[in-house]
């Protein structure tokens, strides 16, 4: 136990030294929220990975592969398609962001639709949807402490230790804002994804040496859902990949990464250069889970396979390394969520439609971060049975922001009223289906509640936009806004500034 915790301790000490050495006072709320838009591709890459692959993935993705087979590959695939999607929207998002000092996803929606109501609606949905992931992050750390203590800590004590570690870490997150987040993401990213990939490949090699191979799994584990009537319908995998691809950029802590880049080039470079490592890391994790399915005794606690395989392969050293990788990956995800919640509440809800003084913005953001951390920590210490279902439901909810977001970026005729109505209709549909008709997916070919909600959302958005179109001044304003993103290409008038106040 001492060896395992000692390895984790070395990692933590290195992080503290790095953060202390990097501290710099923020000059504005923009500096605090998006780090002054000053980060190049390498930092951006690690930061993106740290936000995209939280530590809980090491447990849940491995466990999914071990329990359900090759369907777990859906996550690496949609993660890469998300980067492809970034190619379509990067230019407009970044140029609008830089020209109008946009800090959050809601800022973009407010600019595009000239509607504070729509921005606040999306922010509320986002904050509600992301909370379960914060709690799951703390619970994942609890699993880490439980595994490293080899069962000596009770589940409650384990979660409390994980929470305490993150609370101490938050001192720097709250103090340094986005700058601290990106700098620590670099260090955590190298440990989690470079070191983590090396560890995963090592564990795969060890299992191969034991004669284990994914090709020896039963046939139902090696085919996708819908083939031979197994585990879902023909549209199950389509739903899973589509939800992930579209929903990826709907998460505020992911979206805000688009605004931390110092240029479109850095943004795309970060996505492209992180893609190979992202693919290798995630696919290797799935292969590891598939191979672990043949190890005796793991099926009862599939989510702990990450630690169990490491322990079997290398004892306390393996546990320590597995725990360090998990901690490094979790910290980035938890940091990103907390940071995004603070910025959203300050900028998009409390500061909706007005410009708060810098000090008020900072205090509101930091206060929110403290409250969110404490609330999630408290909930994580409780024995909640269905939190995983809440988290899955939250994903079906967050993608309802997709229609207004992507519709606003690519379709000039989308209106604020249509966006709000679509979001509410889609969110309500998804919740109703999940809550009262769970399991109904089998009757619609395996479509998820989120995708059905998305269809309702999109239909509402398009219908209302066409039936109640923009006024002439709004049509003109939107046209100028879109023209502004093309300005640097055509060298014409500069982009329109973000309008103050709500004209909707």
């Amino acid at each position: 136990m001492g060896i395992a915790f000692g390895i984790v301790g070395v990692f933590c000490a290195g992080l503290v030294v790095l953060l202390q050495a990097s501290y710099r006072k923020d000059r504005s709320f923009s500096d605090y929220a998006v780090g002054g838009r000053s980060y190049g591709a390498w930092l951006q890459s690690m930061s993106f990975l740290n936000s995209w692959w939280p530590g809980g993935i090491l447990l849940s993705l491995t466990g999914m592969a071990l329990g359900s087979g090759v369907v777990a590959f859906y996550m690496p695939i949609y993660s890469l398609l998300t980067v492809l999607l970034m190619y379509l929207m990067a230019r407009r998002v970044w140029l609008w962001g830089a020209a109008n000092d946009l800090k959050t996803q809601a800022d973009l929606l407010r600019l595009r639709y000239d509607s504070t109501a729509l921005a606040v609606t999306s922010s509320v949905i986002s904050v509600l949807s992301i909370m379960p992931w914060l709690v799951l992050g703390f619970k994942g750390l609890g699993a880490m402490f439980s595994a490293l203590s080899m069962g000596r800590l009770t589940p409650g004590q384990s979660v409390a230790c994980g929470v305490a570690l993150i609370l101490v870490r938050q001192v720097w997150t709250i103090r340094m804002g986005m700058r601290g987040l990106v700098i620590s993401d670099m260090y955590q990213g190298i440990v989690a994804y470079v070191g983590g990939t090396a560890l995963i490949l090592g564990l795969i090699a060890w299992m191969a040496g034991q004669g284990l191979s994914p090709s020896r799994l039963p046939a139902h584990m090696l085919r996708v859902p819908g083939v031979g009537g197994d585990g879902g319908g023909p549209l199950t995998l389509f739903s899973m990949i589509l939800t992930g691809t579209l929903g990826g950029w709907c998460w505020p802590p992911i979206f805000v990464r688009l605004y931390t880049a110092d240029s479109v080039r850095s943004m795309l470079r970060a996505g492209v250069f992180s893609a190979p490592l992202s693919m290798l890391f995630s696919m290797a994790l799935v292969v590891m889970g598939l191979m672990a399915a043949a190890l005796p005794g793991l099926h009862g606690e599939a989510d702990m396979a990450w630690f169990e395989v490491a322990r079997l392969a290398a004892g306390p050293v393996g546990l320590g390394l597995a725990g360090t990788v998990m901690l490094a990956a979790t910290m980035g995800g938890v940091d990103a969520i907390i940071q995004a919640m603070g910025t959203q509440v300050a900028n998009d809800i409390v500061g909706a439609g007005r410009t708060l003084p810098y000090r008020t913005s900072i205090l509101t953001a930091k206060g929110t971060m403290v409250v969110a951390t404490a609330l999630a920590a408290g909930i994580a210490c409780l024995p909640i049975a269905h939190l995983s279902m809440l988290a899955l439901l939250s994903y079906q909810g967050i993608i309802q922001v997709a229609v207004a977001q992507y519709g606003g970026l690519f379709w000039r005729r989308g209106t604020a009223t249509a966006g709000i109505a679509g979001m509410v209709a889609g969110f309500a549909t998804a919740i109703l289906l999940e809550t009262f008709f769970h399991g109904a997916a089998a009757h619609v070919g395996g479509l998820s509640s989120g995708v059905i909600g998305l269809a309702v959302n999109a239909a509402t958005y398009v219908a209302l936009s066409l039936l109640a179109p923009h006024t002439a001044p709004e049509t003109h304003r939107v046209a100028r806004l879109f023209a502004g993103a093309d300005t640097s290409r055509r060298d014409t008038a500069p982009p329109i500034a973000l309008a103050q106040g709500d004209a909707a």
């Binding site: 090759v70 492809l84 994914p214 090709s215 139902h220 492209v272 014409t492 500069p494």
Partner: protein
Amino acid sequence: MSPARPRATLVVAWMIGNLAAALPPPVYLALGTAAPVLPGLPGSIVYFPVLGLSIVLCLLAAYRDDEKRGYFATCRLPERRGDEPPAPP
């Protein structure tokens, strides 16, 4: 500044091809099976990694194409004229 040429047709086709290989049920139902396509390798174990690799290579190709056609040079804010006020904070 001259506008960049459009993205290479091959790259665009490759992007669309990746989406077509990942999303439509007939494709993944046909390829994501347990039947071996190589000795000892089930179709699904080949399909997903190959698809992932294709997406990664496509992204690299798209980035390289964007560099060559000068796309990033056009992704900058215009210079503000002297008589124009700065954007509000």
